[in-house]
């Protein structure tokens, strides 16, 4: 495999891992506050539809992004209402969010555009184009690092850089701010937060709202950056792989980036290995590589390698004890 191929793989790794990263960080915010969210997939899908529709209507990619974030936050707040205020079952609520998003995006898309649920293709200002970072062209000639900078680092849409920036921001807010400290505490022991005179519900609502915003970013990326419009079920399980990545990252921001890049790499390699015969092994079943993230997560969860312990209070509604 030559250097150019490696660069191509690295480039598609970045592209493929971005939606995972958005959903993974979204899940991180929610679950660190103690609200389990298996509705990342649905929120991202609803957001992708909103982005496609709004970008088409307004011819503005930014408005598309804002619409995506707004819709995704609305879904997040429904989940929050069920999980925080009504102390309902968070898993059940997440399943409902996923179905609602899948059904509504298809129905409304079909009713509005009559193209089998797609939104009309968008282009130009309605889409986030690829940015060429300063010096990319000039440095491309430089040996080794030059092409890497030009191919892999440069040439992505604004949303890619936003998603990547969300990693240090998430880390910083959680580790270094008052809000982050309280959030980490409420996911582990809400009673400690309550007795410290802080509202458990307010913190958790804030967390699910941020979760919604990040899912919105991921959805917008899928619809109006990576593609040129919304396609039915275009999230294709990415919200669930993100959940796996979150477990893999043990609910921490930087490892989340690592896990998403790893899963993105697996995806990129799987696409390239389609039909390739590897000497000595024969044809590698692509599906084996595709299944790897899930298999690894199961193995990790079962404690066969290391241990992934979720925030202690996650999934449990907070009830003041008698």
């Amino acid at each position: 495999m030559d250097y150019t191929t490696l660069l191509t793989i690295a480039d598609s790794t970045v592209r493929l891992s971005i939606p995972l990263l958005c959903a993974c960080l979204a899940g991180l915010w929610s679950e660190r506050s103690g609200v389990v969210d298996i509705g990342l997939e649905g929120k991202m899908l609803a957001a992708a539809f909103a982005a496609g529709a709004a970008a088409h209507a307004s011819s503005s990619a930014v408005l598309g992004l804002l619409a995506a974030i707004a819709v995704s936050m609305a879904f997040a707040l429904v989940h929050g209402f069920a999980a925080i205020s009504q102390r309902g079952n968070q898993i059940v609520s997440g399943v409902a969010i996923n179905m609602l998003a899948a059904g509504l995006s298809a129905i409304i898309g079909n009713a509005w555009y009559g193209q089998g649920g797609r939104t009309p293709p968008v282009d130009g200002a309605a889409r986030f184009g690829e940015l060429v970072l300063p010096g990319a062209e000039r440095l491309a000639a430089a040996p080794v690092l030059g092409p890497f900078y030009a191919e892999v680092v440069s040439g992505h849409s604004l949303l890619v850089y936003l998603a990547l920036a969300a990693v240090p921001v998430t880390w910083f807010v959680l580790a270094r701010t008052r809000f982050g400290l309280r959030l980490r505490a409420v996911g582990e022991n809400p009673a400690a937060v309550d007795t410290a005179g802080i509202s458990v519900a307010a913190l958790r609502y804030a967390a699910v709202t941020i979760c919604g915003a990040l899912c919105g970013l991921g959805g917008a990326y899928l619809a109006i950056a990576q593609s040129a419009g919304f396609l039915p079920l275009m999230t294709a399980g990415k919200g669930f792989i993100a959940l796996a990545a979150l477990i893999f990252a043990k609910w921490r921001a930087w490892p989340a980036l690592g896990a998403c890049l790893l899963f993105g790499l697996l995806d990129a390699v799987a696409i390239r290995l389609q039909g390739v015969v590897v000497p000595g092994i024969g044809q590698v079943p692509v599906q084996a590589i595709q299944a790897l993230p899930y298999v690894m997560t199961v193995v990790l969860l079962a404690g066969f390698i290391g241990r992934a312990v979720p925030p202690r209070a996650s999934g449990i509604p907070y009830v003041k004890e008698r």
Binding site: Q86, S93, V95, P285, F304
Partner: protein, 375 residues
Amino acid sequence: MSAPIELPKWADVVLVPLVSVTAAFVVAGLVVLSIGENPVEATRLLLAGSLGSGEGLGFTLYYATDFIFTGLAVAVAYHAGLFNIGGEGQATVAGIGAALVCLYLDFLPGVLLLPLGILGAAAFGAAWGFVPGWLQARRGSHVVITTIMFNFIAATLIVHLVVNVIGEPGLTETRAFAAKATIPYVHELLAPLGIALPTSPLNLTFLLALAASYGIWLLVYRSRLGYAIRTVGANPGAAVYAGISPARVIMIAMALSGALAGGLAVNEIMGVQHRLLLEFTSSYGFVGIAVALMGRSHPGGVVLAAVLFGILYQGGAELAFETPTITRDMVVVIGGVVILFAGALEGLFRRLVARGLGVLRRVRAAAPRRAAAEG
């Protein structure tokens, strides 16, 4: 505040699901309105399409067959206090099991082949449910996350098998099963008896689904094993006290749940498609969650809820044909709202029902007094 809301049994069994389903339909009606269609007309088309003709009814019951199995799968696990969202994966793997029997044991006579195929589906589905159960019982990994992962692993597994191993070259399906390996259609069975039914995919698996419902009812509410399952689900402390091993019950319940999800594969693969193909589960595993929640995890309720969703699916298909703006995805929306209302917001609806009953009682208590005062 957190104390369980006690309701009369009839309200618990009938009123709460009814209120949440009604609310779900109101939401669906609003969606129909918002896309500029008439909900009343939509409902009429839906009912006519699903119940108005023999063919429609056949399709309705065929869909209901799938939902009975996936609904029972969720219900059984729920009785053990588990949330099995792995019905999709379990049904997928069950399809592989059924196909292996039907493809490679088809030298056997039909009387042996059909039961073996069904057993193959049940066994494979059970295994795919058992492993997450085992992982929860013995390794402490949560069954919800594991079953999600197992859904995806099953999805890649079937693609690999069909594309690379047992499928027809270049196609995403296997060869068709021998005729003796297929479960007879109802209209074909009844034709020799002089009963002419319109062609529909309704096959004998429907009877199997009804039998399974009865069997699960017996098992859950009448058998020693069901007693153990319900005890673990309702009060794990009491189970330990009684000498029932929660770990063992969790594994049994998950295997049973997976086997039931396998019924979906029997209906689709052996009953209708007669070959193994990709994505035959069509998210019916998730619909099973709505069905189980609506049916309050009681097999009788599950059958009723499954028929309701059968009506929605078949009627939805007809509706989509007549009114192209309303696609069958409407059913998914209704399913989602039912899950949200009857599941996640159950407490809210129980409180509403309790309050409503309270008002009713006060009104009724006040009425005779008023009558007496006036008289």
